[in-house]
Amino acid sequence: MNTRLVLALVVSGAVALTACGGTTKDSSSRQTGGATNAAKADPNAPLKEGLKITFLPKQVNNPYFTVAQKGAEQAGTALKAEVKATGPSDAAASSQVTYINTAAQQKQNALVISANDANAVAPALKSARSQGVKVVTFDSDAAPDARDVFINQARSNDIAAGQVKLISDAVGGSGEIAILSATPNATNQNAWIEVMKTELAKPEYAGLKLVETAYGNDDDQTSFQKTQGLLQAHPNLKGIISPTTVGVAAAARYLSSSEYKGKVQLTGLGTPNQMRKFVQDGTVKSFALWDPSKLGYLATYAAAALASGQITGAEGEKFKAGDLGDYPIGAKGEVVLGPPQVFDAGNIDKFDF
């Protein structure tokens, strides 16, 4: 075996191919067209009974998705549908694919999935759809042409405006405030911060002054130290908004152990289990997040409506989601659950995730 000869051949072959051009990023035409829905929606079609629906979270035994699953099962009972929860034990990009293929193989009517990776699941989802499985994504969307409907937990504007309202109420409408964000280039964080600034410019928030935006990089220790830094740099600081679950928990931990406890207000996006003790000890008056059980409930109703032919996922269609009422389908097949859920001392014990 002449290793050098083989190497030379491979390299020269590669160079020759480069010279002739080939399939490059620029030359490949991309098919980004949305899914074509040949079938027409019949808004009056009755919801079918006995539908088989697979509920596929990012990862099983994750408290957030366990709550979402309860919502899905509740909807399943109301719909007389058979909701089956399954999924991988790790949240790797590709580990859901086996379960998607299985759902297609089991001839399920619909698949309700929170995608670990928007693109990695797309080929399998497309293949499942071509076999007649209706696909609803919730919490984390897949590539739009790989699913019928996406259930979005909350609109950016609702989230950001809600956060400003919460801090304004907590500090009594006036004073210096700061934002403790995740990373400086996190898309959703930056979108929210922009909306917050627009909100703060409104007359009703004239008393609030945003003095600094700090970045804790979604790291517990960094967020903890940045909170400390904010308080030292701004002695008159009255409140902090931290729209990230890592940041808000770290900030709460710092405040609750410092002299500022109860004097400097904090709100943000957090989970009830993470924030419970800080609400109980008075560090935090209220914070927000969506209710995952409602998310699972709505997604399951959307799946049933799709499988029954009530909707096809086109913009402008409507469906009824049991106790939650009517939901319209927006652009790109998106359905919004509604404004975030606010948690405070009065209701936090009703939630476990």
Partner: protein, 316 residues
């Protein structure tokens, strides 16, 4: 009597049992063409990497860095694609890159005389780290459908996934190399008695180096397959896959101490692990049970071949 007690025979019997119980308990959905296609897709990368790894383990060494080479290759595909390279160039370059990774393992083991377990645990972390340097935590997904369809469509007219077709071709080549060539005899000799092999004039270091290079190159091929199958180039692709591959090789009856095993047994092992997993998921077995069953099978795989071996000794 002797052949009845061979571990490979037991594996084939187990496969038949799994296939039959699967077929009955799922009302024919298990051996359905569509499901076999999905099963094939799921075990494609494992089957590919298991081939050279069998030779490595038979030679008494181990390579735990294969899944990281897969991830690094996937990251490289994405990075070069973003840089505007044509895929026809990217693919051979990435395979050569995988071979280089393998060569680094091989040189550290043969030239510096370090144990391969320690070396490849080190490069397992190193190559994964490099993958993260190359692509960060982003994903590249805009590959042309003409390439990604290899992962979602079967070979025309069959239910055979392309990765399995590729693995089958390589299996024939590796089968010939291991079982029907002097190179293969040398590999067994090295695994059974390295000193003896050296004194018989076998170029032990050179052969080991070739085996590590092959493992790296095939892991890179598996990385390409993985990337197109999920149309997603990511640095964290295939994390932990090395354990699935080693499990399949050991279940296939290859001795972890080297010198024993066959490629046929390994392929049966890959099929058994993949088939069982597929069946359990198809029957909606919970993930916890799935993990426990896989763990138990691994234990069985280490125990059973030595038990059948001692039984065989007893009967002769």
């Amino acid at each position: 009597m002797r052949s009845l007690l061979r571990w490979e025979t037991a594996l084939v019997l187990l496969l038949v049992v799994v296939a039959l119980t699967g077929q009955i308990s799922t009302n024919g959905a298990f051996l359905d063409g569509g499901n076999l296609f999905y099963l094939g897709l799921d075990i494609g990368e494992i089957a590919l990497i298991a081939l050279p790894l069998t030779l490595v383990i038979v030679a008494g060494e181990i390579d735990l860095s294969v899944a990281s080479v897969l991830g690094l290759s996937s990251a490289l595909v994405g990075w070069l694609w973003n840089a505007g390279w044509p895929l026809e160039t990217i693919l051979p370059v990435v395979v050569v890159g995988g071979a280089v990774c393998g060569a680094v393992n091989g040189l550290l083991v043969t030239r510096l005389g370090l144990p391969s377990l320690a070396v490849t645990i080190g490069t397992l972390a190193l190559y994964r780290g490099l993958a993260l340097v190359v692509l960060g935590d982003t994903a590249v997904a805009d590959f042309p459908a003409s390439y990604t369809s290899f992962g979602t469509t079967p070979v025309p007219g069959t239910n055979l996934p392309y990765p399995i077709a590729l693995a089958a071709v390589l299996a024939v080549l590796f089968g010939i190399a291991l079982h029907a060539s002097s190179f293969g005899r040398s590999v067994y000799a090295i695994g059974a008695n390295e000193e003896g092999a050296r004194f018989s004039g076998i170029r032990v270091k050179r052969i080991k180096l070739i085996l590590f290079v092959l493992a790296g190159a095939v892991a890179a091929v598996a990385g390409i397959v993985y990337t197109f199958r999920f149309s997603s180039a990511r640095a964290d692709n295939g994390v932990g896959l090395e354990l699935a591959v080693v499990a399949a090789v050991l279940l296939g009856g290859v001795s972890i101490f080297g010198g024993r095993g066959s490629l046929f047994g390994v392929l049966a092992g890959v099929l058994l692990l993949g088939g069982l997993r597929n069946l359990l998921i198809l029957r909606d077995t919970s993930t916890e049970v799935l993990t426990i069953v896989t763990g138990l099978l691994l234990l069985v795989s280490v125990l059973a071949p030595s038990i059948t071996r001692s039984l065989r000794k007893a009967t002769t």
